[in-house]
Symmetry: C2
Subunit: 405 residues, 2 copies
């Protein structure tokens, strides 16, 4: 490894990312970051705010870091309208580790959690919660209140189809768990479920938190990894209401207790400082875009362009999701197959789509294997995807259908 | 936040870090990184190996990342002489989370772990292991085989002073836990303890792994955070022998199982990709320095300079640690006090030392409060601290004593 010269391409504007050596990255996470954020990181890695020390090397007990985490907390509250009676925690292990950390902290002995299962990660959450219940002392029950598995997770269940545990003659749930956006199948909750009185809502918002303004007070807990809408890998966020935090279990390992992370400002030991700092950069970037209201408008415009291109070519493409449940973050579709059989024309056309898109600088569009039929395509349009990326993709979708239809 | 211009100072050679806007950072972790590593990061954040995607945005399921983690595994094995019957895992939560993850994975029901307690983090490890034993189903016993607490952790216990559980009429331990380097007090194991037959050695090597060549086969498990000798915050490494891995507990949450991390190449979910990548850069940097043998020579020279400066001024400074147990990573000392009482002359002189050192570009030298007497000073000389930093500090130590003695 040798020293590098300062890269010449750094000054390209975000809307022309492709002229700067960078492609449009439609990956589902880790996902693309704004050019301005990357440039700030390049500077701070060398020397953070004139300290003479880079951000990667900065003590988590020093005054610069004290200031940094106070700013991040303020900025997240400001842009997300997060009330003072909610705490924002940063942990590690991703949203997947919350699969057991949530019940470990929040389920009382013999308690019940109701899960609404709307996709791949929701299935994992369910399985991990059940595994936790079986290997711990909690004697907890994990109940499936509804699932969209019957139609390959292509829709969000209606309230009428949700059967909470209380309605089945058992004790009501402590909480109801939803996955607000289903990254792999491409559905998204555009309403919240009606939940039993006394229960609170826990939302895995890994792939759509901070995509638009939301009413945080409708939730007891919101959690996710930062690497989609809000930064990079290595830290997970937990937004949790004070009264739930106060009741959280203390009879679990110290490093898993929400209460410990709250009291110790998410640094009971060396935290993932760089990942947390990157969340802070994203918060400042969102502020600079005009906040979440402006971002929602942009995100709707981006997804609108891509869905419109698919809907204009329904003879060629099959979108996976029922229209009213479509995600604004992850758009899933496939080319229609000749006979639509496994390994048939659709999959070959999908492969051609992905290859041609790659050549056009539209990258990481392959869908997830769990979708079946090879996975098809998935375009993730998180906060940091510029409008130009969505425009380029929409145009490509139309052109490809014309050329191959 | 506005776009920045490429930093002008990047091309300064490592040995002149202070002329580049950077200080010598003696922090105990997160610690200083080599200039070349930082420059590589600046490049890769924008565009990783010509992929058009930055390292922070790179999919953990893509071919670039496949290649990256294979390279890291190869490089770590090569420089560390890690045999094929050991696996290298990356997890999150730091070494502190291993305090419960180690017994959760490795202690059979009713099993015993023997701890040799040689410092602040070793005390924490003991407390967390006991807390885990009390809040889990394991009915495990955590036994203190020896402690250096009687002399404020200023020495490493002799074999004759270690009383294993087997010798007290109980079942022998499954493993013996040591902390190979004590970051806060500044002691280091320069031999390994003789352990009972049938037991294996578990070493928290958070602050001295990869400081020199070691015989990995003497250990069952070696673990630590990467942010001292091997990178930045956000990932912990676990080097574990295959037979121990195979016996590891499966009746704990999936995301805590060593077996899962081994089978799934440390990516059962989105891993801390950037932190792991930085470990890889450190491995390549160590290779470029001539490997661990060359690094040991350099590390001995660096620590030798600083200890020599202290020993030349014994009328002015008190090193904390018994000479034969001195750490090559963390050097702890204080100015002699007038009467040596709490709040006395020593502490005032320490404060002056720290202030003057800071002005001279020698940063983050404050010792830990747990040391007592205000904490005194601690100079951390991890792998990435250049010789010039140790030279500058040694010179300052002499000059300061002359000026204030």
């Amino acid at each position: 490894m040798t020293a590098i010269s300062p890269h010449a391409s750094v000054s390209a504007p975000a809307s022309e990312a492709r002229t700067s050596g960078r492609v449009f990255n439609f990956g589902a996470g880790p996902s693309t970051l704004p050019d301005d954020v990357l440039k700030q990181i390049q500077q701070d890695v060398w020397n953070y705010r004139g300290s003479g020390i880079g951000i990667l090397e900065l003590s988590h007990r020093g005054k610069e870091y004290d200031k940094l985490i106070a700013e991040i907390d303020d900025d997240l509250r400001a842009i997300g309208n997060i009330p003072r009676n909610y705490k924002i925690l940063f942990m590690t292990g991703g949203a997947t580790s919350q699969n057991y950390i949530v019940p470990a902290n929040l389920l009382p002995p013999g308690g019940t959690a109701d899960h609404i299962v709307t996709g791949y990660w929701a299935e994992n959450t369910l399985a991990d919660a059940r595994q936790y219940a079986s290997c711990s002392n909690t004697k907890a029950t994990i109940h499936v209140a509804a699932t969209s598995a019957d139609k390959n997770h292509s829709y969000i269940p209606a309230d009428a189809d949700i059967k909470y545990s209380a309605s089945q003659g058992r004790g009501g749930p402590t909480y109801v768990h939803i996955t607000s956006n289903n990254t792999i199948y491409g559905t998204q909750w555009h309403r919240l479920p009606k939940i039993p009185e006394g229960a609170f809502l826990v939302s895995d918002a890994c792939s759509d938190f901070f995509w638009k303004p939301i009413d945080v007070t409708k939730f007891g807990v919101i959690y996710g990894g930062a690497q989609k809408n809000m930064g990079t890998t290595g830290c997970s966020f937990i937004v949790i209401r004070d009264d739930i935090l106060e009741r959280a279990n203390k009879d679990i390992p110290r490093m898993l207790q929400y209460g410990v992370f709250s009291r110790e400002e998410s640094r009971p030991n060396t935290p993932p400082t760089f990942a947390i700092y990157t969340v802070g950069l994203m918060a400042k970037w969102i502020k600079a875009q005009g906040g979440l209201a402006a971002l929602e408008k942009l995100n709707r415009e981006k997804a609108g362009l891509v869905y419109a291109a698919l809907d204009a070519n329904t003879g060629f493409y099959t979108p996976h999701v029922r229209k009213e449940d479509r995600s604004f973050m992850n758009i899933t579709f496939a080319c229609k197959g000749v006979g639509a059989k496994e390994g048939g024309g659709g999959m070959e056309m999908d492969a051609r789509f992905l290859a041609d898109a790659g050549k056009a600088g539209l990258a990481v569009l392959k869908g997830h294997r769990a979708m079946g039929h090879g996975g098809g395509m998935r375009a993730s349009l998180y906060n940091a995807m510029p409008l130009a990326g969505a425009q380029a993709l929409a145009e490509f979708i139309g052109d490809f259908a014309k050329k191959n239809g």
